[in-house]
Symmetry: C2
Subunit: 193 residues, 2 copies
């Protein structure tokens, strides 16, 4: 994509069902599936955000794991995908990393299924970032969603994915939501060329 | 969605890396993630296609599992999602089930990342199905993709998802591909109202 887009999967601060702040666990599958989506859609880096040190050890093992694995020889594309993944302690640390690369603060953008209001759609986000000459840091929550502290820090809230069920059921996995938003961004980017 | 759409995740006949016919394993995650995407986008049924009886036992256990699980009380939306899933021995059996419901053969539609030619995009598929007054049976492969036997049986091949990476990397998980196609179909359906 023409814009520099970074993705963050946030495991803290996250809201649980009761509205409390929690730290969720990193899952093997979120690492693999979302890395593949990020590589396919030209995302610069995929930041796994967690302050828990034991989780860092686990993630580092997974990110290096395939190198020694027989499966890596059979499936080199999966190992390739992981090259896009990075580990950070916090959303702020992700922002700092992006600032180091681009010399400017990224446009922190949040996603969520239950936003009452939003800033705009994909084309609006890409336009704003292009005009401002800034990279985008697109954040996804785990658990019951990004905590208010992250939402308040953001400059842009993307329009939710509404689905199309007759009874209003709308519970995509974060992996599915990431895939849909990246496809929408890529298609919006194409029409803007 | 206005059209009646059924989804099939095919575990046989599948092509492996060497081009041979194989049967892949059903995974817990494909059941859960794709059920949630199907429920969110108003898909009528999600057929898990495998001829292996031990896999049927496993899938039936997963489909019934949440009812007795403590997690079901915490997360009823996940159990709800599984209500859309069905188990069939073959693509033909899925076609028969849909015929029983609608009295007409579904428009068998295939997806794949490496199609050299395709029949059209989402709006073309929805238009054709509406004109013909037929439901759609949208098939996804596992492993290295749907076997030629399934591709030849199909009446419609959807345009692949091309991605937007600079080096042409294009290896989405089937879970991500399903999410993207269902979102594209829902958006195409909206514009046709």
């Amino acid at each position: 994509m023409k814009n520099d887009i970074y993705l963050g999967l946030v495991h803290h601060p996250i809201t649980n069902k009761m509205g409390e702040v929690v730290t969720t666990s990193v899952t093997n599958l979120d690492i693999h599936d979302i890395s593949r989506s990020c590589r396919t859609f030209g995302i610069r880096n995929y930041f796994l955000v967690t302050p828990l040190k034991p989780q860092h050890d686990l993630v580092n093992k997974i990110l290096g794991h395939w190198e020694e694995d027989k499966a890596a020889a059979y499936n080199p594309d999966r190992q390739d995908a992981l090259s896009v993944a990075r580990l950070v302690d916090s959303v702020e640390m992700g922002i700092e990393r992006i600032k180091e690369i681009h010399g400017v603060e990224p446009l922190v953008t949040v996603t969520g299924a239950n936003f009452k209001t939003c800033t705009g759609r994909e084309k609006d986000l890409l336009s704003k970032a292009s005009v401002d000459k800034r990279p985008i840091f697109l954040l996804f929550g785990t658990g019951w969603g990004l905590h208010a502290r992250v939402l308040e820090r953001a400059e842009f809230a993307l329009e939710p994915i509404f689905g199309a069920s007759e009874d209003g059921y709308n519970h995509l996995s974060v992996r599915s939501a990431v895939a849909i938003y990246l496809d929408r961004l890529a298609r919006a980017s194409e029409t803007m060329k």
